[in-house]
Symmetry: C2
Subunit: 414 residues, 2 copies
């Protein structure tokens, strides 16, 4: 690599000023931000980004899905574009690092390359994807860009159809625009993303960078255990068909199965709803929200089978009926080997300790996996807090991460 490129570093004070300014937009005053997708606060953050792009002398681009980009024509005529980015939307009452840091590191990378006056084999684009977090649809901008978005899924989005339409109207977007935002993969060199880990593994292992090997597959189910509503005073214990027994036994079993048999996977019983839900009535039905995640297709299928088999076994044990409702699934998305090498190589040259790990959370790269080369890496999260105002990463790790993004971008197209 050109030694002038190899020695390029981002400008930490400039990145920090941006980060602090952005953290004020939608601030909740407790270290967190509230910027649900296409809310007023989110749109204010995007307006601010557009101003920063203009100030940096970069070109602005917006597509039909509302994705906002800074572009830098640093490649030869007809060059492909390497995308770098993340998202400016947040979960409700979330943290100020999740997504925002990745967008600013991408912008800072373009500014650094532009300032250097050096040429690359590709053009660069720093992109802010619409609605990564899913208050409306989830991975909306990246799926639109990958050409994976369908008209059908816009009819019953997870945030509700009314909220989606209201958000699109606020942002001046249309469903037709969303559905026509696909980019020709032949024009794209790949996509790289910096993100906070949202977990404790990097700090626990003393690593500064986590090179993502895959984004886990996620499946969600609603399980309904059904027994019989009886008077809780007059019905002897042995005569009851108590739906809570099956639901409780399954909830304990989920943890045990994961701990003993699936060390690389996770699962959660995040909610139960009791019917009728009275002190003095034996629960007739308990609806249970199950989600599980696995990094490989093999683990994913094996785990799904183990959990559903156990759910049925607990129903039988307590003489209950079990209804299994499949709610949705993302298959595991492996990251490109070439991108993992570029990130690990950048870490080595920057003298940073990196480890490979799977991402337990969903991210925009999974939309693009299989369409263009994709890579992702994490910087450490103090305490592993996520989707919370407690979310925090040390500034030195943010700077190191931004330099890894810059150097990985140069290597990804070496």
């Amino acid at each position: 690599m050109d030694p002038r490129l190899e020695s390029l570093r981002i400008n930490p004070p400039r990145l920090k000023a941006d980060f602090e300014a952005l953290s004020e937009i939608g601030s909740t005053g407790d270290g967190g931000v509230h910027r649900p997708s296409l809310s007023a606060a989110h749109l204010a953050a995007r307006a601010w980004l557009r101003e920063r792009i203009a100030s940096a002398g970069l070109d602005f681009r917006q597509d039909g899905a509302g994705n906002h980009s800074a572009t830098l024509e640093c490649g030869p005529p007809g060059a492909k574009t390497l995308l770098l980015g993340s998202h400016l939307d947040s979960v409700p009452y979330g943290g100020r690092f999740d997504g925002a840091l990745g967008v600013l590191a991408a912008l800072e990378t373009l500014r650094t390359v532009k300032e250097s006056g050096l040429s690359l084999p590709v053009d660069l684009e720093a992109i802010d994807f619409t609605d990564e977090e899913g208050t409306l649809v989830g991975l909306l901008g990246s799926r639109a860009l990958a050409g994976k978005l369908t008209s059908a899924e816009l009819q019953s989005p997870r945030g509700g159809r009314a909220d989606l339409l209201a958000g699109l109207a606020r942002a001046g977007l249309t469903e037709q625009g969303l559905l026509s935002a696909r980019r020709d993969p032949q024009t794209l060199a790949g996509y790289l993303e910096l993100h906070i880990e949202q977990g404790p593994r990097l700090i626990r292992e003393g690593a500064e960078i986590g090179v993502v090997t895959a984004i886990v597959g996620i499946a969600s189910y609603r399980l309904s255990y059904a027994g019989r509503a009886d008077h809780a005073g007059t019905t002897p214990m042995p005569d009851r068909l108590d739906a809570a027994q099956g639901a409780s036994a399954f909830t304990l079993a989920v943890r045990k199965i994961l701990m003993e048999e699936f060390p690389d996977c996770v699962a959660n019983v995040g909610a139960m709803t009791f019917h009728p839900g009275a002190f003095n009535i034996v629960p007739a039905r308990v609806d249970l929200s199950l989600e599980f995640r696995a990094p490989t297709v093999a683990d994913f299928n094996r785990l799904e089978d183990a959990l559903l088999r156990r759910a049925r076994a607990e129903a039988e044990r307590y003489d209950l009926e079990l209804a299994v409702e499949f709610l949705g699934k993302h298959r595991p998305a492996p990251m490109s080997a070439s991108a993992q090498e570029a990130i690990a190589g950048a870490c080595a040259d920057l003298d940073l300790r990196s480890i490979p790990l799977a991402s337990g959370a969903g991210h925009d790269p999974q939309s693009l996996a299989g369409v263009i080369p994709v890579g992702m890496f994490f910087i450490p999260s103090v305490g592993g807090a996520s989707h919370s105002p407690r979310e925090f990463s040390k500034w030195e790790h943010c700077v190191k991460g931004a330099n890894v993004l810059l150097q990985a971008a140069l290597r990804a197209v070496d």
Copy 2:
């Protein structure tokens, strides 16, 4: 006993006509009735009862708590009054036997004695107690009559203050009236009640009458297990403080403890509420509704201790915090020995097989226990269904029960 009294029997067709007419008031069309206390349907049932009392040539009496009575002066001047009765209100969408049958059997007893022209050592009163079921307060009329009702508890009744005030207004009642409805125990000979079992024991044991030995004590608690909300994708299983694990382990333990150590008691985890209750967030807190019942003070205290100790042990096991909120308690109420003997004696003379049992449900006699002699008995419930349109008792058992009430009333004052 006077052989003319001993041979008295109620009039089954007359009782049946009343039962069928009453079942139409607030009928839900599926065999059930919806007559919450002081609702329009409940007040219609009371107006109908008042008309039946007048038609029978009995006197009508209403007290400040709204309790409706038929009275028969069949005793000598200055005689005490023996109360017989139950309640016309129902749980929301409940059954047509619960309470209603007891009031009608009491009315039929008075009509039968009146028709006979015979004298008794006491006067008789068939009483319909206000709000037994507790959509407003619970055991309201009987507690008022016993002088146990306090002004304080009317400020935050279980059905809400607004509903209580609205109900009182509809019925033309006042709080002051409720609080001054106490009757002098010296004027009362006792209280007897016929009720459906609401459980499966009589049919299982081939008995026609259950002589209640005690009404169980009931305690209710809200237990809150608290852990930590974490991202359910990025937090490894061993790092979680999952409130659902403690709540589930306790729910399984409750059943096991009752089955193995407390064969005469029952307990129920009737509801859980998960916070925040999302698929992808580890449950930070689970609130659990616990209720348990025991027939004796010794069992009651031992069970309370065993359950709360286990609740704390499960919190420790899963490294959770536990908050225990005591919500309320009725202590076990033993029925009077003299009343149990009168009921069992009536059964023997009527050639009916009776067994002693504890009532797992609360009833008006518990308000009067310790104040005046009280007795209660059950007739069989098919399938044990209760507080449901499925609630059903065979008509032959209803008739036998009404004759037991009549004969027990004669014996109670023998």
